[in-house]
Symmetry: C2
Subunit: 303 residues, 2 copies
């Protein structure tokens, strides 16, 4: 199966207790795609400004990522500036300059519309829905969002949730969307609206998954030093989706075992992501070293 | 092996989103002992005021708990009043009236001093140390503390950590004590001071354990509705310590497998504790239903 990811490709200014980086490659689609690449390099649908250097196209292509859908527009590339204090679970935004992304209207080719797997990274749910409705043969839809959209376009987020197969949200977003303080209850409320699985991302506390049939838990890889958590959630989703695609037949039911392994694969990939700034960490993930970390994760909870 | 627990027996006023209870049985030693009882009912060393009703002695004894060490003093019983908002991970204290507990000097009999297992629940670390130094043949020492003591008597807390076998602290306390933001690094710093294991309690996010040889993780039981989290940590410790005592030979090394199972047993016991106010929840835990929940916990992370 071939995978399409729709989302941001951006510049980031990042400050963490471990350093400051300016104008580095960022954006959900960038992190997602590089994280997926060891198994399935996707095609990116995004828009950048005319300030976006050619070298990043070459960089993406090195991973086998299809950059034909990254439109070069007039104006500037989406630019996020933020910082983390010692609690690296919380990103503090300094500025968000949408640039060319402000008027982003994803353009799908006829070939794109025939892709079987779609990941809708965190963008306006109205745009996500428009993209989804163009797809003619999609078998697996991953969906991400954020507090901003849940607050400002709650109905549109729910509309997307109902159409998605795998919903990726963090614990605060799950509680906010379901308007329910109990995390398990909240995830169940969301799952009952339609998706096969709600994957609750909890950072260093790992992942809780809720399906129609069960609840499962996957611990995070026990990373001692997080250099930069930016994009960790997107990298997790990229790893997870790529594992599902690589291990499932088109249109077939995703088994509990495959889903659990996919989440664990995603956690292993994300553990590389946080070890470097920008996409430097996740770029070091290979099938082999991901497998090694996945077996560490498996052993963490064994008894 | 026989177990001694030194800590508070108290009255609590508790308000949660699910109800208000006044003057109910509380205190770390109470929760701990009832949680331990399905495997090993301990002897409690504590002090209460002359307002403490006889019915609670009978109640403890119903679980096989030895109440001979609960001294009745002049004055009032330790009284905590607090509330929880929707984030039940955070207890807000309204008032703490130490009463008879303010001048608590645990009195050990000669027989007490020969006990092989000691759990020092969260009290002044200077008092904990005094108790420990009276023990003549202790094989296994569990230790708990809190932010208040870490801030006010840091050196005394470290002194206790060095002498303890199993250190029970929550994630914030571990970071605070080690003065290190990375949880894994912080737990390792504490473990290196002497204890066999540092058991990091993370509430709904489960437990991270750090020993000389390894890191392990145990998820929490997926409880949908927490009625009252008061005493959940003490109940966890009670379950965990009782499992260790029931499954280890005196003076023998605690294996990784036994420790992991003990933590999982403790999590299962704690899941009962949060289902009722005061000790009503944990009182419903039996060997059989704890085992059932332990197997649910085991399956949560299996792949």
């Amino acid at each position: 199966m071939r995978m399409l990811v729709v989302g941001s490709v951006a510049f980031d200014d990042i400050q963490t207790p471990f350093g400051i980086k300016k104008n580095v490659l960022g954006g959900a689609a960038s992190h997602f795609s590089i994280a997926a690449a060891p198994l399935i390099a996707p095609k990116i649908i995004a828009v950048v400004g005319n300030d976006f250097p050619e070298k990043y196209f070459t960089y993406f292509e090195k991973f086998g990522i299809d950059t034909q859908g990254i439109e070069k527009s007039d104006g500037k590339t989406f630019h996020w500036s933020g910082y983390y204090e010692h609690d690296m679970a919380i990103a503090h935004t300094r500025t968000t300059e949408l640039g060319a992304f402000a008027t982003f209207e994803p353009k799908l080719t006829e070939e794109d519309k025939l892709r079987q797997v779609l990941f809708l990274a965190n963008i306006d749910p109205v745009i996500q829905y428009k993209v989804l409705k163009q797809m003619k043969n999609v078998q697996l839809v991953g969906f991400d969002s954020m507090n901003f959209w849940i607050e400002s376009k709650r109905k549109d987020v729910w509309k997307m949730v109902k159409e998605a197969d795998i919903v990726f949200l963090n614990d605060a977003e799950v509680r906010m969307l379901a308007e329910e303080a109990s995390l398990i209850k909240a995830a169940k409320i969301i799952q009952k609206k339609g998706p096969s699985a709600v994957i609750v991302k909890k950072g260093e506390h790992g992942v809780t998954g809720v399906t129609k049939d069960e609840i499962f838990v996957s611990p995070a890889y026990p990373t001692e030093e997080v250099l930069d958590p930016t994009g960790a959630g997107d990298s997790f989703a990229g790893g997870c989706m790529s594992y599902l695609v690589a291990n499932t037949q088109p249109g077939k039911h995703i088994t509990s075992d495959i889903l659990r392994k996919a989440v664990s694969w995603g956690s292993a990939v994300a553990s590389f992501a946080v070890e470097g700034f920008s996409t430097d960490g996740v770029a070091k993930a290979t099938r082999k070293n991901i497998e090694t970390r996945m077996s560490v994760i498996k052993k963490l909870t064994a008894f």
